[in-house]
């Protein structure tokens, strides 16, 4: 009886192991499918023209999304201008200054903001920026993305700052270094890689936002020469091309999706490279 019992246990173990393994592998499968499908459908339209030319009018073959690619980076720049300083400094406050009661409310608010659907951010910015300016604009689009980034960056900054051992703070204060210098030169410097990682992940997250940009950045078939005018972005361009009835635009949309995915992958890979030696000791 004992041996069969033993074998049955081994079988159960194998069963559980295979089921959990299969579930874990399911994470990889969609990514592989997305990549494969995008590459097959999009790679034919990704060429030099795609990166250097404006969209062609309906009916003409070719053209590119140069304006949308540049527009995506412009919007990320405007967003970073708003999101990075507010997010990082807010995170510094949470980690280094705030009282526990105030911090609880700020964290609570930040966590709720992190869960707010992006289209609601779009409506808010439409009311706050687009209506007063009486035009869709890069400013409005960048503002939306920046606002979405603030709670993300604030929480990651707080978390990496809290990982800095208190011994460093005490050592700095015991040298007669003032608190703000200690925070900037010791604590933030020690956690800098983590903070940059948080910023990059927030940028990666908002770079694919579409819904809130529909009525803020709006999109543009031409170059944007003024941040107070509407601006094209990759997700917007993909959206408008994908719902069009033209095969050529569909091909362009696939290409745009592939480029956008590669862009986000590039950000994630750079995060990996940045954090690779984060916990290893320096100099070995």
């Amino acid at each position: 009886m004992a041996p069969t019992n033993h074998q049955w246990r081994k079988l159960k173990n194998l069963l559980v192991q295979s089921v959990t393994c299969a579930c874990a592998l399911l994470v990889i499968a969609p990514l592989a499918l997305v990549f494969f499908h995008l590459a097959r459908s999009g790679v034919g339209s990704v060429n030099l023209d795609f990166f250097t030319h404006l969209p062609k009018p309906v009916g003409e073959v070719g053209g590119g999304m140069a304006n949308a690619i540049v527009g995506t980076f412009v919007l990320l720049g405007v967003a970073a201008l708003i999101g990075v300083p507010v997010g990082v400094l807010g995170g510094v406050f949470l980690s280094e200054y705030g009282s526990s009661k105030l911090n609880w409310w700020i964290r609570f608010a930040a966590d709720i903001l992190n869960g707010v659907p992006s289209i609601i951010w779009g409506i808010v910015v439409y009311a706050l920026v687009v209506m007063p300016m009486k035009t869709f604009s890069a400013w409005a689009g960048g503002t939306v993305l920046g606002l979405i980034m603030i709670p993300l960056i604030m929480r990651t900054t707080e978390e990496v700052l809290l990982l800095v051992p208190n011994g460093y703070r005490e050592a700095a204060l015991a040298l007669g270094i003032t608190q703000w210098r200690m925070i900037v030169q010791i604590v933030v410097r020690t956690a800098l890689k983590g903070i940059i990682t948080g910023i990059l992940l927030a940028l990666a997250r908002v770079s694919g936002e579409t819904a809130p940009l529909l009525f803020t950045a709006f999109g543009n078939r031409f170059w944007n020469h003024n941040l107070s005018d509407p601006i094209a972005t990759l997700p917007l361009q993909i959206f408008s091309y994908a719902i069009s009835p033209y095969d050529e635009w569909h091909r362009q949309a696939w290409a745009g999706a592939l480029v956008l995915l590669l862009l986000i992958t590039a950000i994630n890979v750079s995060v990996r490279l940045l954090t690779r030696d984060r916990f290893s000791r320096h100099g070995h």
Partner: protein, 288 residues
């Protein structure tokens, strides 16, 4: 001294009459009697509270200049709190408050117009766990206290780096790799680097909170030798759990128990002929 932090210069001028010849007075080679030596720190009726928790109760003692004073006692007796109250580090605990008086060479360090930052430049500290700044090189760790207080004269900083590392008995081991990361050093070297870092701001008193308790016996011996060397120039207060260590390196020993100073006397007296029963029980290992 070659460099002074501006604020420190004024402090030292102020205290000059009360501290006759701290820098010029001949080296004391043997243990002075408490009454004959200069007093560095005067503690009067010190009580410290963390919220409603009364951590230190009515402590009064005089810490002698250029000598080693050891603080011993079982865990939770207030040793570390006492040490931290000497450079106002205990104030980092949000609900901390204190009553009583602490004078550093005659000057009330809790006076209303005295900033903790200034106190800490005069009273340096070395912690139990060595904590060199991981983003900085060996040399940068030594000079960080000066650089972040506005000293940028490269020649002076370089000179001070060597001087401080020599005082911390680390110079010969690191002189060829001053720009290597501080974390590339061994544990004992890191602790001596922290001592060099504390010495570089030229404090008058050096507080050490179990500086060797995380180190192996060889590294511990080096730290102890260093303390014996440093007391020729600095006033040292050391918290230790190791009574042999207290007996080896200190001139005076204070025994704390449950937040009270039970006995304070010369180390010889505390370890050979204590006046109080509790002290005797503790130093002979009957409790704690």
């Amino acid at each position: 001294m070659a460099i002074e932090i501006p604020a420190m210069t004024t402090d030292q001028e102020k205290q000059a009459p009360l501290q006759p010849g701290l820098k010029t007075q001949p080296k004391q080679t043997d243990t002075p009697a408490p009454s004959s030596a200069a007093t560095a720190v005067t503690v009067r009726d010190l009580s410290v509270f963390f919220g409603t928790n009364h951590v230190l109760q009515g402590v009064s003692l005089n810490i002698q200049a250029r000598a080693v004073t050891a603080i011993i006692g079982p865990s939770g007796c207030g040793k570390s709190t006492f040490l931290r109250s000497l450079n106002r580090m205990h104030e980092l605990v949000p609900e901390a408050r204190m009553t009583g008086q602490i004078r550093l060479f005659g000057e009330d360090i809790y006076a209303r117009d005295v900033e903790p930052v200034i106190v800490r430049r005069r009273v340096g500290m070395v912690f139990q766990k060595s904590n060199p700044f991981p983003t900085m090189s060996i040399a940068d760790n030594v000079t960080v206290g000066l650089r972040l207080n506005g000293v940028h004269n490269r020649a002076a900083l370089g000179e001070l780096t060597e001087k401080s590392l020599r005082m911390a008995a680390l110079w010969d081991e690191v002189k060829d790799r001053l720009h290597a990361p501080a974390l590339s050093l061994s544990g004992g070297q890191q602790q001596r680097l922290c001592i060099a870092r504390a010495l570089a701001v030229q404090p008058e008193v050096l507080l050490m909170d179990e500086p060797a308790s995380a180190l192996d016996p060889i590294a511990t011996a080096k730290i102890e030798d260093l303390i014996l060397e440093l007391k020729k120039e600095f006033t040292i207060v050391i918290v230790t759990h190791n009574m042999q260590q207290a007996a080896r390196i200190s001139e005076y020993t204070a025994f704390f128990y449950l937040g009270e100073l039970i006995e304070f006397d010369s180390t010889r007296k505390i370890f050979t002929n204590p006046s109080k029963k509790q002290t005797e029980d503790y130093v002979t290992g009957r409790f704690g």
